[in-house]
Amino acid sequence: MTLSALRVAIIVFPGSNCDRDMMVAIEQLTSRRPALVWHKEASLDAADLVIIPGGFSFGDYLRCGALAGRSPIMNAVLDHAARGGAVMGICNGFQVLTETGMVPGVLIRNAELKFACRNVGLQVCETLASPFTSELATNKNLILPIAHNEGNYFAEPDELDQLEGEGQVAFRYTDSSAIGPPNPNGAARDIAGVISSNGRVIGMMPHPERAMSDLHGGNDGAYFLLKSLEALVS
């Protein structure tokens, strides 16, 4: 399969606002425009990758991702994942994934109680087999933007031990040239992204779709997305 044969679906909730950005980013890499799927749809056409984009689904009312997690389309996304389908949740999408239990942990308010939009350094961790990390150079450092108010990853210590032991931590915040503390939100053990126990679902706070070229100030997002897409193709 070639990259242009890859079928990518992006779920759109009311309040999603990074859906277009992700569509443009994927199209830049694959030359194929992803499908935008409205949350009221009950079914999902066959997809090689489902992406839940960033934004403020349902205004983040009640709890970030809580209402989106109960949208009609999510049953189809859960079925897709249960069949071993690949799912990527970015920022608010990560929150939706934790709300539906597709990845472990929860995301709570940033420790400083402020929205944070800036670049952060990310360390690529050694993980169990996963299309989202297998092609990345382990311990490579990336620089990606974050933009969130609730990105403080939390799980009980024994749960965190297990995640680390099983190789489910994909990215950790790490020191970089960016100004500000390396861990921008107080996340437990500096965790910025996690993968499911079968390696097929990733949730992460940073926004790769905003780091697609030098004009964005960096292209580490393009590197991460391309490597993931290539792994899904092979």
Binding site: P14, G15, F56, K114, R210
Partner: protein
Amino acid sequence: MTPTSDKMTFKNATAMGLSRDEWNLITQRLGRVPNLCELGIFSAMWSEHCSYKSSKKWLKTLPIDGPQVIEGPGENAGAVDIGDGLAAIFKIESHNHPSFIEPYQGAATGVGGILRDVFTMGARPVALLNALRFGEANNDRTRHLVGGVVSGIGGYGNCIGIPTVGGEVNFDKSYNGNILVNAMAVGIANSDRIFRSAATGPGNPVIYVGAKTGRDGIHGATMASAEFSDETESKRPTVQVGDPFTGKLLMEACLELMASDSVLSIQDMGAAGLTSSSVEMASKGGLGMEIDLDLVPAREGNMSAYELMLSESQERMLMVLKPDATETARAVFNKWDLDFMPIGQVTETGRLVLLKDGETACDIPIGPLVDDAPEYDRPHDETPPRPQLASANIVTDSPISLVLKSMLSHVDLASRRWIYEQYDSQVMADTMAGPGGDAALVRVHGSNRGLAISTDCTPRYVEADPKTGGAQAVAEAYRNLSAIGATPLAITNNLNFGNPEKPEIMTQLVEAVTGMGDAARFLDTPVVSGNVSLYNETDSNAIQPCPVIGMVGVIENVETAVGNGFIAAGNHILVIGQGNDTIDGWLGASIYQQHFGDNIIYKPPPINLAAERTHSSFVRQQILAGKINAAHDISDGGLAVAIAEMAMKSGLGASIETPDSSLLHGWAFGEDQARFVVSTAYDAALIAAAKDAGIEITKIGMVIEDSELKFGDGDTISIEEIIGVFESCIPSLMAG
């Protein structure tokens, strides 16, 4: 038919802010006394906020025309041609009074309101900016207000998904009791698909869409037209509550509907809500409107006609649809789970007729409401001449590096990172340069073209000499856009002043508008939209006058734009617009004077518009020709601060040759206008080109690998050290 019940008296009119003359005019035009609802409508439409009654005479003197102008003042926002059949649609608006009472909601609804003004015209918003003024920094009230306003701006912009790409903020004690929160939005539309507000076609349905109407923000426009006092707390119920999620749905629904051929005219419900939207649509169309208030979607029961008409509940729109488009439109709004309700129709009567509970609640002629709105030529005087500060009277021989370090910890110069990192500056993925540059740069989606945007004003100059200050705000914005390589196109303005009934305040307004108009005319940047905010006083203490400029320009290819950080060691550093012999820089009304001098108001640096235009054009041309790789306009803090900012941005150092004198502070910190610092690998070519153009240019140093600033022999400071003070100032003030 004459509405019955509750006959109003002059006393009621006074309570709503109307004068005796205005009351007499209303009763004369109606031929009877109004009822509560009617009086409320007159009072809102004739408020300073809606009628511009004190400023109109002077606003008319501003230049509004040019080949680039598609839509000038008068619509929801202005529009200019940016090429490729596209228009940039933009406006700035104040939300000063609500933000002081309730900073989070006041600021949030300010952002929501200005976004609606832009997408009402059919434009997808692509950028937000702001201009903020707060009181003394080291003050608990200021901390509370800064925290609330910043999170409110972010709360709305981040959620609705429009990047906040720039802005400016100052702190001064004159804003202790009256902060300024001005929000600017920029959108992009096809030039031939711009929507306007004039109602058309008697019999066509008038549709209410968006959120329901509640009892919030009632009579807000009138509140915004009065001075504050100790009783301000009691006005909290007049502050609107924002819902950015509904705002996002409304924006998507409106843009989706506008892409079909259904909408004839559309107007957002901003200040004075349903009143101003219905009156303006009918008035511009030369028609009338009949509305059944029982059909207005309401959040709570038993709302009176007065409350429904004067509510400023957010996220609402009024549209006139083509007669056969109602069902198409209804389906769009159903998809987005928004209210959609035909509430009336366009009429030929020229009257606003409102029905409530089967009775006529209001029946007034629209002509007088709009055309007879008062226009005042309020008394004004001349600003007294200010003494000129001789640099020799203030400078010392302490090393530039030490003074620089102290200056960079000044709250008006220090890093704004604590503020702008609370804004999502990158969503939409077209932000090529966000906060912290001279101008923001936003790519036109799907193309290489870019919009350059900046907001600017230096209130201390305006206070000292309003005419110079008004011109300087335009000139600085013009430089900021030019410094990234963009061509300025047009401006929007936000005139923030005190009580215009005081001659000294009216003088500030008249002179500042005169200076602004002169500059805008000379620099070919007409005013296409704007807002006036008067009565910015608390207990009779007026603010420092603050006529903010929001300027929009264009660059053909975003890849040719430059930033304000040094690029490479070995590059030459030059000053454009300054000769070798400039040692006595202009320190009157400078940050240096604020920091080290007395409290006397001195003459601010003069503006030479011809030099502004020539120097900016030269910088722009040389950037586009690839001969300048970084540029920064010299403004607050002067040359040394500009160099320091370029160094901090890049981590690269600079070695600067200083003039031969022991008293260099005027040279380093003077705020003479029309100047830029640039870096280049092609110094000889740049100098030759400048000489050909008759522009003063001086090579002052080199970019160096060592991360330090060297001023002459032996005066050195590390970049790390200045970043430390620059970055820690506002976080530590906010921590208290």
